[in-house]
């Protein structure tokens, strides 16, 4: 390292340069007027805000370039408020920059470290004070105190237990059972194979028992996508092929990655795409993952028709729908 003698020297603070308003009273007066004008603009803006609040109707709309259609009332209150605040700030800063003393001040800084004597005395004090508590000698007190505090610290865990029920098998269950009718969402009508054209896609839910109300929790596990393609386009195992009906195939709509609704269907490629993280599933190959972070295909629902030709579930889902969890047996 270079010797400090050879290094360049600190020339010290540069000389202070005075501003015009420091020695020219007319410049100072001008600055004063400018600050006053800024404060007046603020006051005026507040009046604008109050006017907009009281007199501009909420229903009035105006078109702004780039921003699109906006509520006039919102614009008036907002721009008024913005001006009211902004000009106070500008006024204060202009005042500081033109009229307040701008001489730089030097303050000393001291090392934080206490002197060695103080430190030693501190350690002594701690030792002495702790000694009077007899913490070192009374080990029974120390141990029982540790136990007591530790247990008190655990009590929130116990007290929070009633936040929710145990999961039990709920993550593995849906409302689909053998014979459940597929109904359209949101109309709730039963569906025949002929209702869905080749290339078509529709969201379905299980039919509710009379008097039963559908909850969001139901939708979150039961939502199913019905897709119809030409039967010869399927590339499925014989078992999975038997789960389809006349080219209609049913998958859980809840993404096997993080549970978003897999809502984008590309008719040309027959791919299902999840808009959250772009996992892509191939409909012709039982929703095999062909791209993205999902690790498992969308569970397929076996479907068939009843005597009248309405679509029903052949059986419930054979695996849990939605994202993975520790207890899921994916073997």
């Amino acid at each position: 390292m270079t010797n400090s003698v050879e290094r360049f020297q600190d020339p010290g603070l540069p000389a202070h340069i005075h501003r015009k308003a420091d020695f020219d009273e007319r410049a100072a007066k001008r600055a004063e007027r400018q600050v006053a004008i800024l404060f007046l603009l603020s006051a005026l803006s507040t009046v604008g805000t109050i006017y907009s609040y009281i007199f501009v109707k909420s229903s009035a709309k105006v078109y702004l370039p780039i921003m699109g259609e906006q509520q006039v009332n919102n614009l008036g209150i907002g721009i008024g408020l913005a001006g009211a605040l902004f000009f106070i700030g500008m006024g204060a800063i202009h005042w500081a920059k033109t009229l307040m003393d701008d001489t730089e001040v030097v303050a000393e800084r001291h090392e934080f470290r206490s002197s060695d004597e103080d430190r030693a005395e501190f350690v002594e004090t701690i030792k002495e004070r702790a000694g009077t508590a007899q913490l070192g000698r009374r080990s029974l007190i120390k141990k029982t105190l540790g136990l007591a505090v530790g247990l008190v610290g655990l009590s929130p865990l116990v007290l929070l237990r009633d936040l929710g029920p145990l999961p039990k098998k709920q993550l593995e269950q849906t409302s689909w059972k053998a014979g459940t009718y597929l109904v359209s969402d949101p109309m709730g009508r039963r569906i025949k194979a002929a209702d869905l054209e080749v290339g078509g896609v529709v969201q379905v839910l299980p039919e509710l028992a009379p008097g039963q109300e559908r909850t969001l929790e139901n939708t979150g596990t039961d939502a199913v996508l019905l897709i119809r393609i030409r039967p010869e386009e399927f590339n499925l195992s014989p078992e999975r092929l038997s789960w389809t009906h006349e080219g209609i195939i049913a998958f859980s709509k809840i993404c096997s990655h993080m549970g978003c609704a897999v809502a984008l269907y590309e008719q040309q490629t027959k791919h299902l795409l999840c808009p959250c993280h772009q996992s892509t599933f191939d409909v012709t190959r039982a929703a095999k993952v062909i791209f993205g972070p999902a690790a498992r295909p969308l569970p397929q629902l076996a479907i068939t028709v009843d005597n009248e030709g309405y679509l029903i579930a052949k059986q419930g889902f054979t695996e849990p729908i939605g994202p993975s969890f520790w207890e899921r047996n994916s073997a």
Binding site: F8, Y53, G89, I93, A107, L205, L216, M258, P293
Partner: protein, 528 residues
């Protein structure tokens, strides 16, 4: 004495009689604060926080944190007679039926984005100038805590309206919780009060969003500022500025006027954005239902890097002994962020260990004078930016007519390849800038004036630089690398050999510098 002065004196006397505050106040009213535009970044974060408290309080007067289903009959026609949660309905009411409600919602959301942006840029300033060094490590840790809390608080905030977009975000958060090995399903069921979405989550996160986290924020910010006050602000190097002083303006009146005025400017700009720039138009998304989604689902920007990591991670799951571990969720959602934030928190201690640096530092580094640190920072930043890029892959794909798959593969490879390249380039750049500084000190600046020498040769005249500038370019210390550890008597490595060797290697990398020009260098030049 004027009446005003008499009243003021009486009030001050009343307070001092009971607290003895006069002595403290007298000293601190003239406390010196150094001036620099980059010191205003933290101020922006602080002011945005105050704006968030004010606008947020306004919103609570009408917002109803409930997931009970109601039929909407408000003034927004397209959603009338639709079933939705009370929280969504009340957010629509704030947006359309409360005067100034939409403005406050938009101010609140803009202020949250600015808050996070200001924290991040402030953190970058502190990192690249070495302001985190002793004695300010504690404030660095508090800052990391504030950043982490800010991400959580922002996520909870935009989840509250319970629209289709925010509900999708909560669904993803639930999936991350559910993916935690062994206890995931239990924590998820406890947090949501049963099966997703349930009726408990919105009311619960509302309490966390408006009470718990703001309370912690307030406490941490208070300590953060008290430490700045007590330890005095760092300052940039320059003539007259040393490790032993602070050069700047006194608190009263200059700093009060400037800082106070700046609060109003930040508030004014945020209000202007809230007035003209629509943000999170929840009425376009519709109420949340788990069976639907809107295309182009995007989180707020400070979550984007996390979302990008989740999007790009390969489909890995372990299935064994009847259990499932989702590496495709845990790695990008928990493990990588954990490593990043832990590394960031520990950095001050790592750097001081590498260089065995125990000194107090109050003068900031010019980033070029700490090439290794600057390169590390740029490297981490490039990692985040690649991840963030992939967080918007769907938007980028549709805007620039690229394929999602192409962007995904670019970022998957780029996440690993780009950061090391950025490290190398940044370090070389810093060293080149040091070389340029050295050149300027020793040879002066180019004037663009060509002179013909008697020999017919043309030379460009270089003008010497001022003493002030010379000092700025040469004032910094260049600590040497730690020596390599010696092997023990038998010629084998000491027990702690690997650790010590690693330290020596890192120390050597950290100490790589272009020598600071000295007066003797200059004298030597004159001889030639």
């Amino acid at each position: 004495m004027k009446a005003r002065e008499r009243v003021g004196g009486k009030v001050a006397g009343y307070i001092d009689d009971r607290t003895g505050a006069a002595k403290w106040a007298k000293k601190n009213l003239t406390k010196v604060f150094p001036d620099h535009w980059s010191f205003m970044l933290g101020e922006i974060a602080l002011y945005s926080f105050i704006i968030l408290l004010l606008s947020g309080t306004f919103l609570t007067f009408w917002y109803n944190p409930s997931q009970n289903e109601v039929i909407y009959h408000g003034s927004y026609v397209p959603l009338q007679n639709l079933s939705m949660s009370e929280s969504y309905a009340s957010t629509l009411r704030i947006s359309f039926d409360i005067r100034g409600g939409l403005l406050m919602r938009q101010i609140h959301h803009w202020a949250a984005l600015i808050f996070m942006a200001a924290i991040v840029v402030h953190l970058l300033r502190v990192f690249f100038t070495g302001a985190f060094r002793k004695p300010r490590e504690a404030n660095w840790l508090i800052g990391i805590g504030l950043l982490t809390l800010g991400i959580v608080e922002g996520f909870l905030g935009y989840s509250l309206p319970d629209d289709l977009l925010s509900g999708t975000g909560i669904r993803i958060a639930e999936a991350i919780i559910q993916a935690i090995p062994v206890v995931g399903s239990y924590i998820a069921f406890f947090a949501f009060g049963g099966q997703f979405p349930g009726h408990a989550f919105i009311p619960r996160i509302y309490t966390v969003h408006v009470l718990l986290i703001p309370g912690i924020f307030l406490a941490l910010i208070t300590v953060h500022l008290m430490l700045v006050w007590y330890q005095k602000h760092t300052q940039y190097p320059g003539p007259g500025r040393t490790e032993k002083n602070v050069v700047g303006y006194p608190l009263m009146p200059v700093y009060m006027a400037k800082a106070g005025g700046f609060f109003f400017i930040v508030f004014g700009v945020t209000a202007f954005l809230g007035a003209v720039a629509s943000i999170n138009p929840i009425w376009l998304y519709g109420p949340y239902t788990p069976g639907e989604i809107s295309a182009g689902s995007q989180p707020d920007w400070y979550m984007g890097w996390l979302d990008g990591l989740v999007r790009m991670f390969p489909p890995l799951e372990t299935h064994a002994f009847g259990h499932t571990i989702s590496w495709n969720i845990l790695t990008p959602g928990v493990i990588i962020p954990g490593i990043l934030f832990t590394g960031m928190a520990l950095y001050p201690f790592i750097e001081s260990w590498i260089m065995n640096d125990k000194a107090e530092h109050h003068l900031l580094d010019r980033p070029r004078n700490a090439p290794n640190r600057t390169a590390l920072g740029a490297m981490s930043l490039s990692f985040m930016l690649v991840a963030l890029l992939n967080g918007g892959n769907d938007i980028i794909a549709t805007h620039f007519h690229l394929t999602i798959n192409g962007i995904m593969w670019f970022t998957r490879i780029g996440l690993i390849v780009i950061p090391p390249i950025v490290f190398i380039i940044t370090k070389r750049l810093c060293l080149s800038l040091q070389r340029a500084d050295r050149e300027i000190v020793l040879h002066g600046v180019e004037t663009g004036r060509l002179v013909m020498m008697p020999s017919g040769e043309f030379v460009e005249v270089h003008a010497p630089i001022s003493e002030e500038r010379k000092w700025l370019l040469t004032q910094h210390a260049q600590p040497a690398a730690l020596p390599l550890p010696e092997s023990d008597a038998h010629g084998t490595d000491a027990p702690r050999g690997i650790k010590a060797k690693l330290r020596a290697r890192m120390s050597a990398a950290h100490a790589e510098q272009i020598p600071v020009p000295t007066q003797s260098d200059l004298k030597e030049l004159d001889h030639h």
